[in-house]
C-alpha cells in the first residue's frame, strides 16, 4: 500500500467545486460541510442560517448527522459535503442511509485521496500503484440507486441542481485536487449557540 505523502490526484479544484454548490443552493436547503469543505465554504463568503459548519466534528459522522437532519425535516433538502478519509471512518453509514432512504438527502464525497489537513498522508484507499477504492461502487453495493461521478467542473456544474432536486438518497463522487499545505478549519463561533441558532432556523416552516 501507499507509504509516502506524494500521492497526487487529478481532479477539479476544491474551492470551485464548492462554489458550484454555493451558486445552486436553495434558500431552504441545509449544506453540511466538514474538514476541508468547511474551511473553504467559510472562506467563500457569509454563512447561511442553514449552513451547518461541522467544526468541531467527530470525524466520519457527517453522513449520519445529515441523515438525522433529513429524516427530521423531510421537506427540506440536506446536502452533506464529506471527504473520502471521513467516509472511510464510517462506511456503514452508507448502509444506514439506504436502509432509511430519505429522498431529501444528497451525500457528496470530495475525494482527494489524502488526509489533507494532517499533512497530506494518503488514505488506505490508495495503493502503491495509484489504484483507488471504488467509492461509487461501494455506494451502489450499499444500496444507493442514484450514484453520479464527476471529474470536471463543467459537468458538475451542469448537473448539480437537478441531482439535488431528484429523489434520493443520492451519492455524488467528485474527484478533487489536493490543496497543498492546507490547514484544518476553525469553528466560526462557539458551537453550542451555533447549534441552537441552526436548530431554530431548521425547524422553522
Amino acid at each position: 500500500m501507499a507509504t509516502g505523502n506524494d500521492t497526487t490526484s487529478s481532479g477539479m479544484p476544491l474551492v470551485e467545486s464548492l462554489q458550484v454548490l454555493r451558486d445552486t443552493r436553495g434558500d431552504d436547503e441545509v449544506v453540511l460541510t466538514v474538514m476541508g469543505t468547511a474551511r473553504e465554504w467559510m472562506a467563500l463568503g457569509d454563512l447561511h442560517p442553514l449552513d451547518w459548519i461541522y467544526v468541531p466534528s467527530s470525524m466520519g459522522q457527517a453522513p449520519s448527522l445529515g441523515l438525522g437532519m433529513a429524516l427530521a425535516q423531510p421537506g427540506k433538502n440536506v446536502v452533506v459535503c464529506n471527504g473520502d478519509g471521513c467516509l472511510l471512518m464510517n462506511l456503514g453509514s452508507l448502509v444506514t442511509i439506504t436502509q432509511q432512504a430519505p429522498k431529501n438527502l444528497t451525500l457528496i464525497i470530495f475525494d482527494n485521496g489524502i488526509y489533507e489537513i494532517t499533512g497530506g498522508q494518503p488514505t488506505p484507499a490508495i495503493d502503491d500503484d495509484g489504484s483507488r477504492v471504488d467509492y461509487p461502487g461501494l455506494a451502489r453495493a450499499a444500496g444507493f440507486q442514484q450514484v453520479h461521478v464527476f471529474d470536471d467542473l463543467v459537468s458538475w456544474q451542469a448537473a448539480a441542481r437537478d441531482l439535488i432536486d431528484a429523489d434520493g438518497p443520492t451519492f455524488i463522487h467528485l474527484s478533487i485536487s489536493p490543496v497543498p499545505g492546507a490547514s484544518g478549519p476553525r469553528s466560526p463561533s462557539k458551537a453550542p449557540p451555533r447549534a441552537h441558532a441552526f436548530a431554530k432556523s431548521f425547524r422553522a416552516d
Partner: protein, 166 residues
Amino acid sequence: MFTGPQIVSLLTELGITHVVTIPDSTLGQWEDDIRAAAAISYLGVCREGEAWAVAAGLYLGGARPLVMIQCTGLFESGDSLRNALFDYQLPLFAMIGYRSFLSQATLPGDTCLAFTEPVLDAWGLDWVLYDRPEDLPGQLEAIAGQYHRCQEAGVPGVALVAEGRA
C-alpha cells in the same frame, strides 16, 4: 428486565419519535414492539458512533430521538458522544443496556462490569442504574422522571438498564 410493550408505553409517554439503535440480546427483544408502534420510528444503525450523530441530526430538526445501545456500544462510540453531547451540548437521552449486571453471581468476569459505570462517570453524564426487576412499575416511572428532569435541565442523560438473569 422490561418487556417490549412496557418499553413502547414508556417511550410513547415520553414523546420519543425515533429509537436509534443497535440491538443486543436484551434490547433486541423489544424491537418488534418498537417497530409496530405508530408514533415511533425504529432506526437501526451499523455502529454505535452513528447513533449519537443520527440522534443529533434528528434533534436539530425538531425530533425527539432516543439512543438505545449496549454498554459495549457506549465504549465504541466515545468520540461521537463527545461531539454531540459536549461540543454542541445537545441534550440527547440514551437507554444503555448494562451487560451481565444481573448475572454477576452466576457468570462473573464480564469486564463490562468493571468499566461501564466508571466510563459514565468519566463522561460526567447524568446516569441512573435501573436494576430492580422486582419493581418494574417503579423503575419505568423513574426512567420517565429522569428523562423529564434531563430535558428540563437541557442536559443529556443515560438510563442504564441492567441486563442478564438474576
